[in-house]
Symmetry: C2
Amino acid sequence: MKIGFIGVGIMGKPMAKNLMKAGYRLVVYDINKEPVKELVTLGAEEGYSPKDVAERTDVIITMLPDSPQVKEVILGKDGVLEGAKKGSVIIDMSSINPAVSKEIAKKAEEKGIEFLDAPVSGGEPKAIDGTLSIMVGGKKEVLDRCYDILSKMGTSITLCGDVGSGNITKLANQIIVALNIAAMSEALVLATKAGVDPEVVYKAIRGGLAGSVVLDAKAPKILARDFNPGFKIDLHIKDLNNAMATAQEVGIPLFLTSQVMGILQSLKIDGKGLSDHSAIIQFYEKLAQIEVKKKD
Amino acid sequence: MKIGFIGVGIMGKPMAKNLMKAGYRLVVYDINKEPVKELVTLGAEEGYSPKDVAERTDVIITMLPDSPQVKEVILGKDGVLEGAKKGSVIIDMSSINPAVSKEIAKKAEEKGIEFLDAPVSGGEPKAIDGTLSIMVGGKKEVLDRCYDILSKMGTSITLCGDVGSGNITKLANQIIVALNIAAMSEALVLATKAGVDPEVVYKAIRGGLAGSVVLDAKAPKILARDFNPGFKIDLHIKDLNNAMATAQEVGIPLFLTSQVMGILQSLKIDGKGLSDHSAIIQFYEKLAQIEVKKKD
């Protein structure tokens, strides 16, 4: 079985490499030719369009920035659906609007092509290690057919429900992460401005009900003034944009998510779009005219 | 050394019992005579006013609902400061406004009396087990003198800084807890309303960056529709009220804390003041016209 891989950027390239290491034969495509060349030197074949990739493979994986790119690559001119054979499977591992996943799945189904949405979490380090968490939406039997492929890229593979459920689960994840960072930010900025050493606060509260993976992953970096990504503000804006669109579609208000979206957008305007999302604290620091940092 | 204990309610009573078990002699006082009688049958002496308690003891612990009660009991007529001997120590273990801690400490100091603010986290179960986390504000030498006493009530004792720092740290803790619950609520209500099983979402995301003590402690209870406290909405309103007052005093905005304060107040108006704070999700459920629960 040959696998197509479209989108070999920061995440896609190491994921493709892990498939090749496991013995899968790949046809790769990206508008950026640099990583394609690199993968070809490692033994991959080059595809010349999404359509071409789909014609030459049985399973087509896409790993792209957001909904518009996924629609273009799969539904557009010279796109995957123009080339894909009946019975083939498209696995979109991008993090996109779940409504778009459903729209694409419907159009694929009309041509007898299966579709899974399978966004990931864990970022570049886990993409490299092949230890991503993969949240899958689609038919169980289609996931069963693709399980071995996914297991070369991730260690936790969860079937969340029908098509779109993978992305809905991912959005739930991203809402919690953004808000937990904002929660930590309001707490640490208040304590610091009120005169308490934020490192003492962090150590005093981390073992109790306020404890979280975000607190342990981000507070020490904030205290060391390290805002290198990790996960970029720009990408979190994209995810929350999809969360807000989904909330709008199902008709519910997300009060805090809306607020933190505003904070992220303010940070982007301030030139921090490429900072780690823990830079949320810098929005509060600027207003408070302090920095949450280690005592000298 | 004799210890005074003023306020022997849900938290204070088991804390006093642990001191007695450790061999300390106690003089106890509460406006509610029931728990006082119970402690007297266990060997405590009854105090007849805060002043009386202070006259008969060297260390006076207060465990009261909020700032006004602490001010009344310590600074008021027949209060602790009227009876306390020079060189004695007041340990206020209530969770109150840090500005009030500072005000009381100043008045105590004028009479040669030491003061620590030492609010706790962990709730009734850890008060009973003597495993509370105690966040202390005050002088190191005063804490050193009182360390053995505190160690009978808690297992984690952190000196956070000068007087008031214990309560500031506690407020930071309570901000994070409230917002992490709201984060989980927005995520799970969105996913449920969008058609995904919330239990699947919980299990898919709990091991990653969205993981938190709140998520693991509260999501399973929400899925089982168990909103028994735990920690009551009414008490969390009190704490966030003190957090907002502190933010106002130091001059910073807490966007998300303000918002979740409004949500808590809405729930109180809806008659849920005595529910666990995880009932924050019910605010969203009502708007979404769904329940986040286990599939039948």
